[in-house]
């Protein structure tokens, strides 16, 4: 078995650009997913029964349908519904974000409901508004408790950005495939890509663990 890393060195600028796209897709889809998730989580917890059922349907649908299906549908089918085409990057970010949002929403809801009811009652008794109580009393405690789960979701977002390769978003996996196909060096290319993803995800996982161990006591009540 001969190993030749020349193709990686030769196509380095191409792959470096792909890595930047992976980071961009991860950051944007995480931002979108967390924005959707926090909103949906709060509305499901405090927004009353009808909102809970409607948003619960969204959350459970995303938990039931594979990300690949969401992405493929967003990129190929959605343009036919609205009548204009969207580029792969947008479809990828939106698909990833909507899918991730459901999982974030579940985490947020679990975190909020883990803070005991008495705390809300105490806040209301002190004359705070509901929103104020959520923002200043409940959410800070809940956020700390949610941190490990949200950290896993961040890592899942980075890993899932690779699935956007299926709709030809020019991210790391997609461009690795192109180079591997051109140079007939799948072993070197795919292994290198694997190590890059590991180098991205593993430190994030360990970092979040360490931060959480530091601040876990702040979330206990």
């Amino acid at each position: 078995m001969d190993i030749n890393f020349q193709p990686i060195i030769d196509s380095w600028p191409f792959l470096a650009k792909a890595l930047r796209t992976t980071l961009l897709v991860s950051v944007l889809s995480t931002g979108l997913g967390f924005a959707i998730g926090v909103t949906v989580g709060i509305l499901r917890t405090y927004g009353g029964r009808i909102l809970d059922i409607l948003l619960g349907f969204y959350v459970d649908t995303m938990r039931a349908i594979p990300l690949l299906v969401v992405l493929v549908w967003a990129f190929f089918a959605f343009p036919l519904v609205v009548g204009y085409s969207i580029d792969a990057l947008t479809a990828g970010v939106v698909g990833l974000g909507i899918h991730l949002g459901a999982y974030v929403a579940e985490t947020v809801r679990a975190g909020l409901t883990s803070v005991r009811r008495n705390q809300m009652q105490a806040a209301l008794a002190l004359g705070m508004g509901r929103f104020q109580a959520i923002r200043t009393i409940i959410l800070p405690q809940a956020l700390i408790r949610m941190l490990p789960a949200l950290g896993s979701l961040l890592i899942i977002a980075i890993k899932d950005s690779a699935i956007a390769s299926v709709i030809a978003v020019p991210e790391l996996l997609r461009q690795t495939q192109i180079v591997a196909g051109k140079t007939f060096r799948p072993f070197e290319l795919y292994t290198a890509a694997m190590l890059v993803y590991f180098a991205l995800c593993y430190p994030v996982a360990r970092g979040i663990d360490r931060v959480y161990r530091r601040i876990a006591h702040l979330g206990s009540s």
């Binding site: 078995m1 990300l67 299906v69 493929v72 009548g83 699935i163 072993f187 795919y190 593993y202």
Partner: protein, 219 residues
């Protein structure tokens, strides 16, 4: 734009074949990944540094890299460089099983270490051997505790089987993408695919919620 839904009805048998393959892949992978995960968990708890280190490396590696890339890797690298010839279906199951085993091992490990030391001591005091304490006292309790987490992994796995469409395993996504290319009825076929996944996945998601409520750990 006019939609032609008849194409969905005429290709329904193929879609259902695909759906069947999706279910089959999920069951087959889980059947390997439960013993596989348990084995990895035990290896990680081994007192021998070499064994526990190797198992830890395997688990961390598979958990920190994308499954879709793992599938590509198994598909392109194993046959070309290590002279392992496998059908696409076996490749898919190997890729999925390695990944899910890694996740299951963390689940099992957390379950096993969550059983208090006192239970071990009590078992040993009763004259049981270590493996007996493990099999008869610790493991049954650990399994009950990790049931909700296993159920969640089950649903993730069900969804992740769609990724083996990239190596042409004829499960629901692959069949649908093929039909899309054959019929050009993109919206109809892709919507049918999403609906079929929903019909299968939604009850599973609800069942997971039920299992979480029913078997929640309360100490």
């Amino acid at each position: 734009m006019k939609f032609e839904w008849s194409v969905v009805w005429s290709s329904l048998p193929r879609l259902l074949d695909g759906a069947w393959m999706t279910i089959w892949l999920t069951v087959a992978t889980m059947a390997i990944a439960i013993p596989g995960g348990l084995l990895l968990a035990l290896l990680r708890l081994s007192p021998l540094k070499l064994i526990s280190g190797a198992a830890t490396a395997f688990v961390e590696f598979f958990r920190a890299t994308p499954l879709i890339l793992q599938i590509y890797w198994v598909y392109y690298v194993l046959p070309a460089y290590f002279d392992v010839q496998m059908s696409q279906l076996s490749t898919a199951i190997v890729g999925l099983a390695c990944n899910i085993s890694a996740f299951n091992s963390e689940t099992f490990r957390s379950g096993i270490v969550s059983i208090r030391q006192g239970q071990w001591n009590a078992g040993l005091a009763l004259g049981m051997a270590r493996w007996e304490v493990f099999l008869r006292i610790v493991l049954p309790q650990a399994l009950m505790r990790v049931l909700p987490a296993l159920a969640s992994t089950w649903v993730s796995l069900f969804k992740d089987t769609s990724l083996v469409s990239i190596i042409s395993v004829a499960e629901l996504s692959y069949v649908s993408l093929q039909l899309r290319a054959e019929t050009y009825r993109i919206l109809e076929v892709l919507t049918a695919m999403a609906v079929l996944y929903w019909l299968m996945g939604y009850p599973q998601a609800k069942l997971v919620d039920y299992i979480h409520r029913r078997y929640k750990v309360a100490e």
